[in-house]
């Protein structure tokens, strides 16, 4: 047996500190959630917090948004690269959002506080939040242009606080460059409060256990996670597993491709993106930090969901990217859609690759989108505001059960806005957010279902949205069927529906990157999200489960017959046992759009 714990760190103290580091991040989260002012932070929870050791290795993270998981490290590194370890002082807070210096997309603001104890550097607290608006050509920076400059204020690593006091000049610059200046000070203070919470916890721990014990525990914690991750990689058969997925559009060209090879060798994984498309014109390019984050969080689901998140989980996994690649974006490529649209496709491609290696453990793809939109709205007095929403879809069927319906994609864990809140705050009215029949991928365990979302504009507004899965739905595991396609529709005041993104009734396809689409008072935006991919052969799904789905309107009588082989009388809703037996005996049909 190898000696696991070094120096003066006993296993009990290690466990105590392990949970203390986690608690520190949870506490940051609680402080940020409680003291922030903007709905996107306080209500939708689009933020993450982390603590790093003195070598800038991740120690612990409370990632509300997994897509922030690995990316925050790059932000902290960019700050050190610019300012150097030697200039760091207690009470100095740095800020960065530049996608080309440690950021991902402009709205994600990252705050970094070095933590000192008795004059020595103990570690770093890092807090990242998605701010509603930092300027650019459309609300939320979602103008879908061809240059990063169109997406808003790009802050290089900047010293925001000196000795716990903010630099008001910088705060003024930010306030001058946003459509929502009223949130700036409150939200900044909330991030600051979160950083101080972590500083207090780490300093108290250093005092109680001694700096050396703390340092040893930090390194040991990373080793601990690495052991867990390596063990779980060992359980995946060695091999090379290839998969593809694509973004429907960058606004200029259809089908921007991800191609990847997942190489498993003993306790190491390499993800090689050779063959993926070159950098594209539109706003979905992903800087390395974002691509890396997507790889790590996507694998985490099937490596070890419970392992403490720290540097140890990164060590066994390496990433190879072609130099000219939309997943390795270089200035001045626009990147606004990378955290949502692009990340979720990386997840789907990786899970499809994993499904070849361990089909008995991998789930179908989720709806593989974020469906994030931002709209600027004006009430009848001309007062303007910005609201956003992210109507979720379903998760993939699992080896054990149906997937979750209408639940935020793996990339985040953001909440929607209650209709009654939205109506109080903005000149809009939610008209629907309910399950969409036949939106899930069929399977022995079907995907969770997607939703139909409708919002009516009471005043004028412009809506921007990036999405995908409008050409094909999400794939499953060992099932020939995909989930339904997503679609964006404008319902005119006379009730006429016009598809504005995705497949139209006559089979045309419209680009689903909506940049500032105008709505007049009384017009409604409808979004139909998709469900998750299924798991296993739908012809083996128990007849009673299929009937229950029909009784609950999750599945139509037609889909029950065509995709599950279960024949149900549309009037009596009784199962025709004989017809069902015959249909199921004939074997499952292969649809035209079948996955390989």
């Amino acid at each position: 047996m190898t000696k696991r714990h070094k120096g003066d760190l006993d296993p009990v103290t290690f466990e105590v500190l392990r949970s203390l580091f986690e608690y520190s991040c949870e506490r940051m989260t609680e402080v940020l959630r409680r003291s922030s002012f903007s709905p996107i932070l306080a209500d939708m929870l689009d933020f993450s917090n982390a603590v790093y050791d003195a070598d800038l290795q991740l120690l612990s993270q409370a990632a509300n948004c997994p897509v922030h998981l690995a990316a925050m490290k790059f932000s902290a590194e960019a700050i050190i690269n610019k300012f150097g370890f030697d200039t760091l002082k207690e009470g100095d807070v740095y800020l960065v959002n530049d996608p080309y210096q440690g950021g991902t997309h402009i709205p994600d603001m990252t705050f970094v506080l070095p933590i000192f104890f008795e004059g020595g550097l103990l570690g770093f607290a890092v807090s990242r939040g998605h701010w509603m608006d930092l300027g650019g050509g459309a609300a939320g920076g979602q103008s879908y242009g061809t240059h990063i400059a169109a997406e808003g204020l790009r802050l290089p690593p900047t010293k925001l606080y000196t000795n716990y006091e903010p630099n008001d000049d910088i705060v003024d610059i930010i306030m001058n460059n946003t459509r929502t200046p009223h949130y700036v000070k409150g939200d900044m203070q909330a991030h600051f409060g979160a950083l101080l919470a972590a500083e207090g916890e780490l300093q108290r721990a250093a005092k109680r256990y001694g700096v050396n014990v703390l340092r040893v525990a930090m390194k040991e914690l990373q080793g601990y996670t690495e052991r867990i991750i390596r063990k779980s990689i060992e359980r995946i058969p060695n091999g090379e597993y290839e998969a593809e997925d694509y973004a429907d559009s960058d606004g200029f060209r259809q089908k921007i491709k991800i191609k990847l090879k997942l190489i498993v060798k003993d306790t190491d994984i390499v993800v090689d993106f050779e063959g993926s498309d070159p950098q594209c014109q539109g706003a979905i390019n992903s800087p390395f930090a974002n691509t890396a984050s997507a790889v790590f969080y996507s694998l985490q689901f099937f490596l070890s969901p419970d392992a403490p998140q720290n540097q140890g989980m990164f060590n066994p996994i390496s990433i190879k990217l072609p130099e000219d690649c939309w997943l390795n974006a270089k200035w001045p490529a626009p990147t606004i859609g990378c955290t949502t649209l692009t990340s979720s496709k990386i997840t789907s491609a990786l899970w499809q690759a994993l499904a070849q290696a361990i089909p008995e453990r991998v789930t179908g793809s989720t709806y593989s989108e974020c469906n994030w939109f931002v709209a600027s709205v004006r009430d009848r007095f001309g007062k303007s505001d910005v609201f956003s929403e992210l109507p979720a879809g379903g998760w993939g069927g699992t080896p054990y059960s149906d997937g979750m319906s209408v639940t935020c994609d793996p990339l985040g864990n953001c909440m929607n806005m209650p209709a009654e809140t939205a109506e109080l705050l903005f000149p809009i009215a939610y008209e629907a957010f309910e399950f969409r029949t036949d939106s899930a991928g069929s399977g022995l365990h079907r995907g969770g279902v997607g939703a139909t979302f409708k919002v009516r504009f009471k005043g004028e507004g412009e809506l921007s949205m990036e999405t995908s899965r409008t050409l094909e739905g999400s794939p499953g595991v060992n099932t020939p069927f995909r989930s339904a396609v997503q679609r964006q529709t404008k319902i005119h005041t006379d009730g006429k529906a016009e598809v504005v993104g995705g497949l139209t009734p006559n089979g045309d396809w419209k680009n689903p990157l909506l940049a500032g689409l105008r709505f007049a008072p009384g017009e409604t935006f409808m979004f139909e999200s998709t469900g998750g991919g299924g798991w296993g052969n739908p012809y083996e799904r128990p007849v009673q489960d299929v009937l229950d789905d029909v009784l609950d309107d999750f599945v139509s009588v037609e889909a029950a017959r065509d995709e599950y082989g279960v024949v149900i009388d549309p009037d009596t809703l009784a199962v025709d046992e004989i017809a069902t037996g015959e249909r199921r005996a004939a074997g499952i049909p292969v649809p035209e759009n079948a996955a390989e």
Binding site: R4, D10, P11, V12, F14, E15, V16, R18, S19, L20, Y23, E26, R27, E30, V31, R34, S35, F37, P39, N64, H182, Y183, G186, A190, G193, Y224, R227, I228, S232, Q300, F301, F302, P305, A307, V362, P391, A392, M404, S405, V406, T407, C408, P410, N413, C414, M415, N416, A419, E420, T421, L424, L425, A429, E431, A432, F433, E434, F435, A451, F554
Partner: protein
């Protein structure tokens, strides 16, 4: 006449009673009856040898409502809602519980989708009709529900919190077809905004009504048969009580009916001792609860969730629970680290030392091995020390420590986890641990309280008398209470004073009418007002106290100042950039009840105070430790750690770094530091 508190828990049914004339007290503990839970109430009263005819008040805490919901064991209810919102109660906020678990599922909805119907209608947020109720579709839906034989119906329409005219109209249509149905309207259940919480609470009331009506009727019948003619009162989640008839109509207010008794006890202590602020903790076999009591009141939340994304928005005591208890299992994880819980050996098979087939090392096994637990538990049980030792040895080998280090380490880890849970409770409400005394309830609480306090730098703890039957004791110390609420959205700059005054008048009248049903005279009612407030643009509220009397223009600056202060307390910040706004007004009306009297000076039983000594393991070494009989201790007695104080239903562990004294109420007050 006797006032009797009965708490029916998962394992035991506890009773505490006191006689008004003499101040005499009795307690009883019987096993909870699994089938008909009213039977356990009868048995507890019989065990305490109380004549049913001599009971003036029976105050009952019950988990019946919570159990029915968790098991979904109620007849199928139906939901009628606005077109487009059929799935609000199932979609929730599209949030998942575990960030990275790919196999997780969400709880089953309270009402199945096939019985969720929609009708065309739309009320606007300002209370004006956007689309009238389509009566044809409404009648068709009512027919379908009647055909399905459903007798319990929730009607929950969008924006009904501001105008529920369409809900009323729908109710009439349903009533005409199903005259004997329980019909529940969202605008009446809780007229506050945010449809998910309101719909969910309405659905829960509809689901529970038939179950709780049956349950309470049977209980009342059984008590009557035995000669009981007093008042039957039920503990509510808010920390108050109500008569059984009111409780029956508001079953959604009973979900923390059990734990509320313990918190009520802590609140009672905070009014009687010199310590205004307590952290109430309760550790049993599987879970550890923590909540805050401040200035004699338990903190209230409106963010309760029955299960993931199933909110209940009535005001409830803010009680947090984690999986840590005597049965928590020690284990070594994949990375080689020693962990404790959240998995528990429960009562079956129980800790290894119970000898019922458990083989994994639990906290109870660790306590036994370290000499902190007396192996016969006062003659109630014969614990198997060898089995505990075998279990701990196996764990010790896996991590390369000796067994005693392992046992002590398990307890330390578990106490750190509990300390963090307590800290999160405090942080979430912006409170500072240094302002609090840790109050320890439950069978396993006092064994660990000193270590929990040490881990979070709280210098003082209290182990209350009757800690082992705390919820039953608390039941007898609660006031009658009604909480009513009305939506009123206005920024302070645009507030209509007449509307505030009118709304408070209306609410106070309603609350007093409700209390009058429980026999409280208007003159005996205490009213407290508050408002849910936020800064304009925020999407969450903070409860802010509101002054008595008529509101005038001069009152408004005071409201703003109150709110700023409350927001600073709960969230650590306040703002001058945003204007305060009122979202809803609430009134809490209480009618005082007669409480168990104070002792002048508590006298213990006549038994020897020191039962003897034994070797107990603390901080890496064995120490000769005095064992006290807790029931024999009297006011003014002092104890210096290391010591163990054994009670009938609990046991306090005092490590060498502590000392303690017994106060006038026979509470054990423990302090850290020699």
């Amino acid at each position: 006449m006797w006032r009797v508190g009965v708490d029916v828990g998962g394992t035991f049914t506890d009773l505490f009673a006191w006689e008004e004339k003499t101040g005499k007290r009795v307690t009883a503990k019987v096993l909870t009856t699994k089938g008909d839970r009213s039977e356990g109430v009868i048995q507890a009263i019989e065990a305490a040898q109380l004549p049913f005819g001599d009971i003036s008040h029976l105050i009952h805490g019950t988990t019946a409502a919570t159990n029915a919901l968790l098991e979904r064991s109620y007849p199928d209810p139906a939901l009628i809602t606005t077109d487009g919102f059929r799935d609000t109660i199932e979609i929730g906020r599209q949030h998942r519980k575990h960030l990275y678990d790919p196999y997780q599922t969400k709880p089953k909805p309270i009402i199945r989708r096939r019985y969720r119907y929609t009708v065309p209608e739309r009320m606007n947020g300002d209370g004006n009709v956007e689309r009238p109720l389509n009566r044809e579709v409404a009648a068709d839906v009512a027919d379908k529900i009647a055909d399905a034989g459903i007798k319990s119906i929730a009607i929950a329409f969008i924006n009904a919190y501001v105008n529920d005219a369409h809900e009323q109209e729908m109710q009439d249509i349903v009533r005409a077809r199903i005259p004997d149905a329980h019909i529940v309207l969202s605008g009446e259940t809780r007229p506050v905004f945010r449809e998910h919480g309101r719909f969910s609470t309405t659905a829960i009331r509809a689901a529970l009504m038939p179950v709780m009506v049956e349950f309470f009727d049977r209980l009342r019948e059984r008590l009557k048969e035995n000669g009981f003619a007093g008042a039957l009162m039920i503990l509510k989640s808010s920390g108050g009580v109500a008569g059984v008839d009111l409780a029956k109509d508001h079953p959604e207010e009973l979900l923390e009916s059990g734990p509320a008794g313990g918190v009520a006890y802590a609140a009672y202590l905070s009014r009687l001792t010199d310590y205004p602020n307590f952290i109430h903790t309760d550790m049993g076999g599987t879970s550890f609860d923590a909540s805050i009591v401040e200035d004699g009141k338990g903190l209230i939340t409106r963010d309760y969730e029955l299960e993931w994304e199933i909110p209940v928005i009535v005001p409830m005591l803010d009680i947090h629970s984690i999986g840590a208890g005597g049965g928590s299992i020690g284990w070594v994880d994949e990375g080689g680290s020693l962990r404790v819980g959240p998995r528990s050996a429960g009562s079956e098979p129980g800790p290894a030392c119970y000898g019922s087939g458990g083989t994994e090392a639990t906290i109870t096994d660790a306590n036994l091995l370290l000499g902190r637990l007396e192996p016969s538990l006062g003659g109630k049980l014969e614990m198997d020390r060898n089995a505990a030792e075998t279990a701990i040895n196996a764990l010790a080998q896996k991590i390369g420590l000796d067994p005693l280090e392992t046992a002590e380490g398990m307890i330390r880890i578990s106490c750190e986890n509990m300390a963090q849970a307590v800290k999160m409770v405090l942080v979430a409400r912006g409170r500072d641990p240094r302002d609090f005394v840790l109050a320890s309830f439950g069978g396993a609480g006092a064994m660990h309280t000193a270590f929990v306090a040490e881990a979070m730098n709280i210098p003082k703890m209290i182990v209350p008398a009757y800690a082992g039957v705390a919820s039953a004791f608390g039941a007898t110390a609660m006031d009658l209470r009604q909480d009513v609420e009305a939506f009123m959205y206005a920024s302070l700059a645009h507030v209509d004073l007449d509307e505030i005054n009118g709304t408070f008048d209306r609410l106070e009248k309603r609350a007093m009418d409700l209390l009058a049903q429980d026999g409280v005279a208007a003159a005996d009612v205490t009213i407290s007002r508050s408002a849910q407030m936020r800064y304009v643009g925020q999407t969450y509220e903070v409860e802010s106290p509101m002054p008595e009397g008529r509101f005038t223009a001069d009152t408004l600056p005071k409201l703003a100042a109150n709110f700023d202060e409350q927001h600073r307390l709960e969230h650590g910040v306040s703002s001058s950039d945003f204007e305060p706004a009122i979202v809803s007004l609430s009134v809490t009306a209480t009618g005082a009840t007669v409480k168990p009297p104070l002792f002048e000076k508590a006298e213990g039983s006549s038994a020897e105070k020191v039962k003897g000594t034994r070797q107990v393991y603390f901080a890496g070494e064995w120490a000769e430790t005095e064992i006290f009989d807790g029931e024999a201790l009297s006011s003014g007695d002092k104890i210096t750690g290391p010591a163990i104080v054994e009670y009938n239903d609990a046991c306090a562990v005092l490590p060498p770094t502590t000392h303690a004294s017994v106060d006038d109420m026979q509470n054990l007050v423990i302090e850290l530091g020699g």
